[in-house]
Subunit: 307 residues, 2 copies
């Protein structure tokens, strides 16, 4: 089933212990859509500037990602510069230029109207909500956010959460959003805000899917996937968005959204995140094959299963 | 098969967000032996002071732990005071009194001579080595250490590592010992120092068992266990030692030490760590039953397995 994703399509300059890359194609919607495209058709809603040209278009085209919803505006695309020299697990932001993103008014092409799956990547919750309201047909809605929106735009974010089936955020964001340091208690508090499922991303330690208490035990149930042990992390940018793409892309490819499907989706999310960080920007996703994905999925099983 | 463990038997005063406990029975050898005792017979080598009396003895006796190797010395037992008020994942040490431990000369009772399994808990590597040399019959030897010995007593520690089959340490210690920030590369470097297996404990994120490269692929193989998602962590003290006890105790209970056994041992380690932190000191281990252990083991399977 097709997925519509709204989020940033951007250029990043990153420096990591492995080197430096100038202005590579990036942004949450880019990583998400490339990762998800291995499982399901993907349609992007975003805005780019005049620096987005045929080279960038061809990256999406090679993965059959529909970019009719990427608006071209006068000026430059969103630009982010960050450094992982001090800490591979957390970027230090050196520069953020919103550029054309500052005046972004998401428009949903008529051709996207039959998307049953909607992903609201990390952008202003006011825009997330607008897209959610403009896509009433969506049957499964997932989204991401970040500390800035949690701290400074909480009322708008809470409105978005009411319309989400699944929220994907990291440990710190979960604790911040709930105001509770115990992750299990925090997860339950976040689910009470709307989403019936919560994926907490732990960076190099994998991710946990929390799903509501069972009515009999009131226990909060969960499922865990590790991160793949990599000998070389070249560029951590986009790991979380690629996780979301693998997770949601796999869900959208399945008929039955039962719990076994969600478990496999967690593994596919972790698989896609592990590939992205192997090279700068989207290089690894561009070169990836479905066979490699399946091989690593099986390695994840070996890593975690008793028998 | 019986296990001999050498390490600290101590009194701890801890404060955590859940409360404060004065002078509870603690120490690495205590947590290890109580946890391991659910799987195998355990024999302790340690030194205690005159404050170790019938109450403390009865804790070991109730789990059939052999304490004939616990020497009684004039003075007070090892004492540690720590606080987890700022961070449940890492204690702030407020006081350490070595007391009788300062002059500890481990003596191995003749009755321990047939222990095929030896665990060298976190103590001065000079003592670890002495115990290792005095127990030549030991067929499987595992040990722990900490940042202090890695930083300030590395030559002595390196001698110990040569005689270990399995080393159990945390992420920071692994990176510190190897001088390498990438955990997979660091694990390989540590295994090159002697141990053929390395268990890296990740605190609230579980643990990874690294085992040598296969000769054909040169890949470093590993297996991961999560930590149990707990709604309430009362006192994190002893989690790592209880992990080691569950892990090594289970190994000592099995005939075939094949890889399937090591995988299950990782789960049992994580299970035992998760129980210990539910209450202060050794309270939870004292009240624990084998049925509860098996039930949680099965919950770990549910948490991690696809089918």
């Amino acid at each position: 089933m097709p997925i519509t994703v709204v989020g940033s399509v951007a250029f990043d300059t990153v420096e990591t212990p492995a080197g430096r890359r100038e202005r590579c194609l990036a942004g949450a919607a880019t990583y998400f859509s490339l990762a998800a495209s291995f499982f399901s058709p993907v349609r992007v809603i975003a805005v780019v500037g005049e620096d987005f040209g045929p080279t960038e278009e061809s990256v999406f085209a090679a993965r059959n990602v529909d970019i009719r919803g990427i608006e071209r505006a006068p000026g430059k695309s969103f630009f982010w510069q960050g450094s992982y020299l001090d800490n591979l697990n957390e970027a230090k932001t050196l520069q953020t230029d919103l550029n054309v993103f500052a005046g972004f008014e998401p428009k949903i092409p008529a051709a996207y109207a039959d998307s049953d799956f909607l992903f609201l990547a990390n952008i202003d919750p006011v825009l997330q909500r607008r897209v959610r309201e403009a896509t009433p047909q969506a049957k499964l809605v997932a989204g991401d956010t970040m500390n800035y929106w949690i701290n400074d735009h909480k009322p708008a974010l809470l409105e978005v959460l009411k319309g989400l089936d699944i929220l994907l955020i990291n440990d710190t964001e979960t604790r911040m959003l709930a105001g509770n340091n115990n992750l299990v208690q925090a997860a339950r508090a976040v689910m009470a805000m709307g989403p019936r499922m919560l994926v907490v991303k732990h960076g190099e330690y994998g991710a946990t899917l929390f799903y509501g208490s069972t009515s009999t035990t009131h226990r909060t149930e969960c499922f865990k996937t590790p991160a793949f042990p990599l000998e070389q992390v070249t560029d951590p940018t986009g790991a979380g968005d690629s996780f979301a793409g693998g997770f949601f892309g796999y869900l959208a490819s399945q008929k039955d959204l039962d719990f076994a499907t969600f478990r496999r989706a967690m593994f596919y999310g972790s698989v896609m995140g592990s590939f992205t960080v192997e090279r700068f920007g989207t290089d690894r996703l561009q070169a990836l094959t479905r066979d490699e994905i399946e091989a690593r999925f099986n390695q994840f099983r070996e890593l975690t299963h008793l028998d």
